[in-house]
Amino acid sequence: MNGIERTTNVADPWGYGRDLAAALRQAELAEFERSGEPSPAARAAAVRVAVALGRCRLGEVPLCDESDGRLSAAWAAAAAERLAARLREAAAEAEQLAERYDAAETQGERDRLGGGLLALRMDAWAALLALQEVCSACLSEDQPGGDALEQALDQLVETLAQFDEALQDQQELLSSVAATPRLDNWRAALGPLHRAAPPWWLDGRLERTAARLQDEAAATLPSAGAWRALHSERQMDLTSTARPDAERSVALAAGRPNLDGRPVRVELPPPVAYALAGAAEGSPPRNRRLRWSPPTTDAGDLAQMLVPVVPPPTAAQSVRLSFFRSGQRAEAWVGQPIELSGIRRTVDQRAGVTLTYDEVYRACGSPEGLVLRVGEERISWELETE
């Protein structure tokens, strides 16, 4: 039951089979053969076995004898308890991640904080898969300890769910791990089933969060024009005396130069203005997705447009019709003419065309509806709506 001495290495580039064999050789495991409470070291050894076995399962690593690739119920229960205790600590660490992140001196240190928590999440996933397997086997073979193991697993699951929740609340801090190869390495170590449908921390959302933060920083830091204006104004300020506070309101009221030199009224920053607008409308802005596909869909082509349900502030607001092939931008359609209910455009370099909200609105009301014709032959694509 306990012995996995040899593994096949052909499909095990990460050496997980070897790790499992090494974990099974830990001397501390002998404690489980004796009666009495296992020591913390023995429990930790059991966790290592569970993690190693789980990694083999996640990576779909073939082991030399599948029936031997299991922990005993006693090991599994000890591993579940030890792991649950560690996850309780880790949930608290995740909740305090912001403070620890701020206190760290280097980005490497910050990445280690976030990466360490995610690594523990990976280990917990692997271990739980192995422990669940043991539990199922114990129950079906009516082995002693199956019920106790089931209870230990229930506790582990609750702790893991709390840890998960704490981690998900920290996605923005964890997103900096996306700049390291960790996530890619973990994905590469998964077998086809789990790689195709990975858990939340490997499904690309951390990478998307990192990209979003970059975009938001660029959008909310001074733009090139403002930076130039600030800099030139500062040069002038150096030669003048500082204005006393009393004069400031006058200066503000008079307006300050805009980027193009005209005086402007200071306006509410957009999030605030937007928040006010949203509350005024009392209804959330939503988009309606429109999709078209060609009569033959072998190449996986589709055109997609998201139209705001709530009309935007200006009818001239642009709406993008994008072309995709197998989920990627469809370069093949670049330069091709398209016609949407009489509106003609040419597919641009970003594999899409830009329309105004007003044009789309009018096209919706045309007698023939939203008809998309693509290419020189003006082939009609079929509209699917949500």
Partner: protein
């Protein structure tokens, strides 16, 4: 009458014998906690969402039992059968997800129902946001002594980075700036020569990130909120015509009659916090509500829809204070009134409502999970 047994195996056998849908349902309800517990375990073992899978699994197991797929005579214990069913279901769900991702790679699992916006709409919003922020940054007047004291209370490095990023380092008197630079352990000159030539924000982010060895985008997302602490920010807001609706002392006092969690939820979700006189007022209210770390108001306001704002605020609030944001919003948002009568309905309505409130004490304000008496005034 065949009574419902307690033992799980006997209960499962009893369920498959039932013809009456009500009795079948009652039996399934008794099994539900076990099924959900095991399903959560299976979900997490397979990297799936525990709550989503538990719901799906309960329905699936119910259908299997109703369809008599569990044979108590031939088969083993119910829990063994359950594990097998859940394992097969989990693998099916994984396969379905993989297939869906292959067919529809454009779907962003995080965005859910509301979050997806067209590229152009996003571009447009970002452009507008950039233009408006620029107007904030273009204020070049010296900071007031109150603002200087606030900035002084920030951690030294954070202080330097925030001011450099928003280009406000020039608003700090030279001598003070030098002292702060020394406190932060930075070599002169700071910002380094050439920083002011970095017109592209990405360049600035890159340069400061390298100098500081930090992910500036992550830093900025969290620390941009510092600007809200400054009078410089609130005075800019006051310049806008919308500030004609800024609340006077009487209106602020009226808000103060509401329990702190109600105030926080209504103002943070609606964005009406911008009508308060200053940051101190908001912070005082946050503390009264038991909120230590300031609510990320800008992050919430930037959310595209009400549901996302509610979720963002809920995520931020400390769990110990047990505020149900969605529940409070639903129960109390009538106070915001129609758009024309913000923040409260017109005078007559307000007076009448006020009377009604006095007549029934503050009980009507304590909706949601707010602990009874905890917020009593």
């Amino acid at each position: 009458m065949d009574p419902m047994p307690e033992d799980v195996d006997a209960l499962a056998a009893w369920i498959v014998r039932q013809q009456d849908p009500l009795r079948l349902d009652a039996g399934l309800r008794r099994l539900e906690p076990l099924v959900r517990r095991r399903a959560r375990c299976m979900a997490l073992a397979r990297g799936l969402s525990a709550d989503e899978f538990a719901g799906e699994a309960f329905t699936h197991v119910g259908l299997q039992l109703a369809g008599r797929k569990f044979d108590p005579c031939r088969q083993q214990r119910f829990r063994v059968w359950l594990n097998q069913v859940l394992n097969r279901l989990a693998i099916d769900v994984l396969r379905q997800r993989a297939r869906r991702e292959r067919q529809d790679p454009l779907l962003d699992p995080e965005d859910g129902e509301f979050g997806r916006a067209s590229e152009a709409v996003v571009d447009e919003a970002a452009e507008q946001e950039r233009r408006d922020w620029d107007r904030v940054y273009l204020a070049t007047d010296p900071l007031t002594s109150r603002d200087m004291a606030r900035i002084e209370s920030w951690p030294p490095r954070e202080r330097m980075l925030v001011l450099c990023l928003c280009g406000w380092h020039g608003r700090v008197p030279g001598g003070v700036w030098e002292r702060w630079r020394a406190e932060a352990g930075l070599t002169a000159p700071f910002p380094p020569s050439g920083f002011s030539d970095c017109e592209d924000p990405h360049q600035r982010v890159g340069l400061l990130g390298t100098l500081w060895d930090c992910d500036v985008a992550v830093f900025w997302k969290r620390k941009q909120l510092r600007l809200l602490e400054l009078d410089a920010w609130w005075s800019l807001l006051r310049e806008h015509e919308s500030r004609a609706a800024a609340w006077e002392a009487e209106e602020v006092a009226e808000w103060e009659r509401l329990p702190p969690p109600v105030r926080i939820v209504l103002l943070a979700v609606s964005g009406l916090w911008a009508r308060l006189p200053d940051w101190d007022c908001w912070r005082r209210w946050e503390r009264e509500a038991g909120i230590g770390v300031p609510v990320p108001l800008l992050v919430i306001a930037r959310k595209a829809c009400l549901q996302q704002r509610v979720a963002a605020l809920q995520r931020h609030l400390p769990k110990r204070i047990e505020v149900d944001v969605a529940g409070l919003w639903q129960a109390e948002s009538w106070r915001l009134g129609p758009a024309s009568g913000w923040p409260f309905p017109p005078r007559e309505g307000r007076a009448a409502r006020s009377e009604r409130r006095h007549a029934c004490g503050c009980g009507e304000l304590s909706h949601g999970k707010v602990a009874e008496g905890e917020w009593g005034r």
